[in-house]
Point group: C2
Chain length 433, copies 2
Amino acid sequence: MQKIINPQRIIWQKLTTRPNFNCKQLDNTVNKVFNAIKENGDEALRQYSLLYDKAVIKDFRINNKKLIQSGKKISNELKDAINLAKNNIEKFHLSQKSRKKIIETTNGVKCWQESRPIEKVGLYIPGGFAPLFSTVLMLGVPAVIAGCKDIALCTPPNKNGDIHPAILYIANLIGIKNIFKVGGIQAIAAMTFGTETVPKVYKIFGPGNRFVTAAKQTASMLGVAIDMPAGPSELLMLTDKSADPSFVAADLLSQAEHGKDSQIICIVNNLKLMGVIENEVEKQLNELPRKDVAETSIQNSKLIYFDEKKDIIDFINEYAPEHFILSVQKESEKFYLQNLKNAGSVFIGNYTPESAGDYASGTNHTLPTNGFAKTYSGINLDSFIKKISFQRISKEGITNIGPAVETMAEAEGLQAHKNSVTIRLKSIKDEKD
Amino acid sequence: MQKIINPQRIIWQKLTTRPNFNCKQLDNTVNKVFNAIKENGDEALRQYSLLYDKAVIKDFRINNKKLIQSGKKISNELKDAINLAKNNIEKFHLSQKSRKKIIETTNGVKCWQESRPIEKVGLYIPGGFAPLFSTVLMLGVPAVIAGCKDIALCTPPNKNGDIHPAILYIANLIGIKNIFKVGGIQAIAAMTFGTETVPKVYKIFGPGNRFVTAAKQTASMLGVAIDMPAGPSELLMLTDKSADPSFVAADLLSQAEHGKDSQIICIVNNLKLMGVIENEVEKQLNELPRKDVAETSIQNSKLIYFDEKKDIIDFINEYAPEHFILSVQKESEKFYLQNLKNAGSVFIGNYTPESAGDYASGTNHTLPTNGFAKTYSGINLDSFIKKISFQRISKEGITNIGPAVETMAEAEGLQAHKNSVTIRLKSIKDEKD
């Protein structure tokens, strides 16, 4: 770990900058695949699945029988764990429903918002070295709660053309029937244009490697909404002597194993703690099966000491971490929570590891990286809905606000806007006379 | 108006397709300006303001004196109208604040969301043929309510380098101090990179012509969030014999005067009504000062008759109008409101013209066009905030959900994730023993 003591504000920008990833470098590849899918649909999907996934795919759609039988291929223990996680994720995302509030802004002028699901959504579930079935819960549960009508799920097959049964089991459990074994750029292109098999969607969700990220950006230029821009996963942990150093080390390492590009920052306000944490990380690292991956990202990680609380919170807000673990004594905790401006998801206290939120506490694990927590929320129920505004104005209402509308429309040079009010006010007046 | 009777579903796509506007055509211009602003800051801003706005600008920032004195240059009547509109917009957007709800998903596992403002936002207010000061209210009021700390407002100057006093008056009224007289691509580029005078922001809001739209897309590729993709303004009106044809015509014309590319569709379920509306439009058109603009868009507008309610609502949902005026008898109204899936803002009843929502009812007038109402909400308080998720887990909580986390992490091949829980569970067990 790189140890840094009281870094001056002038170098904060450097410390908080993430590795540069320019999607433009992949533009040629992405455009080529997009054009092929647009022109040749499923046939092009087959070619790229063979090229990139080394898989021969005849039918991209998972048939219903396979879906239903997927449960037989995973242990009861895993099923129980998935069920517990699903229940918690459901509870938390259900609580995000908003109720209709009718506001009478002026007598006779009623305004309100109503939520409606985005009808057609596409969920991308990465394959890669491990089958990230937990993401099916994180994207699928809120999509179902929101009421999205057509939910398509794309995930890359392995070389045998198979999908991990836990992905299928969860999809079936929450009621997603349209599952396609296709990944990478070609999956995003398929959901952008639609093919004979894969439907076109309005919004694409889900994490992925840099090819998927670049493809999602291209999709967004073509009019398909995306959940958020993505980058390597990040953890910022703030801790003091109240925390158990072995817990701290375990949390840092859990982030480190995500990939060699994982971003890790640990902040302390106690110089001695730096050595303690480092030793503990070293010790636990040696016991990890994925030691090679974790070792690289731990080497690039930063262990920062600050004297002042004000510097700490300013630095955190400047960094805007995807995951923020806050494990400090009670009185400090309050200060940091009150002054926190930018973060994706916050884990408070000694017994709240990031893993809990990654899987089963109920919060979502699809979160803004790369400083985008300054602007974006993580995935929540809002991500799957849009709010329509409504207004109903009575004769009394238009009489009350009409003259203001007339004046403003006229001042903006929009005579017909004015006239649509004038004609109504005149009619009301004529009725009375 | 083009009259269409019972169009078959097979041609709906053609009927609902908006004029094609490909931002890529403008890419060269946009990139050139962006590069210049990035390299030369204010100096490049000056060059492009001269080139595009024919204005010589020394200092882009509006000084405080000018801001305060702006009120002297507009009538008391307009000030009163603005105040009424501001109050209604405030009331409606204040009602969109969400309160913190702590959910205990499992005993000892507490999860919640908290809203935080996006700290740095940029508001773009178009100039063009008319000074659209109402947009300052629509973007500025929610930005202030959300608590955005740094609000920058850019708007193009006229040839004399001036800004309409109503824009300044409203900005000052709601507390926006950082106003820059710069428009077009160069304004968006300035807020993307920051210049000596104009600050860099995290999210850019506001309507604009196709140059501004293309520039906002480029900004979004560079990591600045934007409110939504934009296109020409649209109105879909559904009416029956219960509506006053003169009101209907006035509403259609108010949309028509926005620009020659305004999109207008009027749907009726009564054949006779088609002729009546057409005659009324013709009559009112002749009295409009901006007749030439309105005439072109009215010529391109569509007057559609359907026999069946089901076809009507399906067509509306397929079109996903920015503005939807629903002026029908009570029993039909209920059917359409219940089955409406996609729209930006809805105006219900005979006395609810679109103009009311454009200015003063309280709802926002920055809305999704071009079918994006299928995916996006109009501007509301949510547009200026992000939600951070929080969780706090007790010893009891981690004991309850920990084993599920361990099982899922192991199944995903993430041993260190598992370990961050195991180490805590072990410590709790050791304490008890």
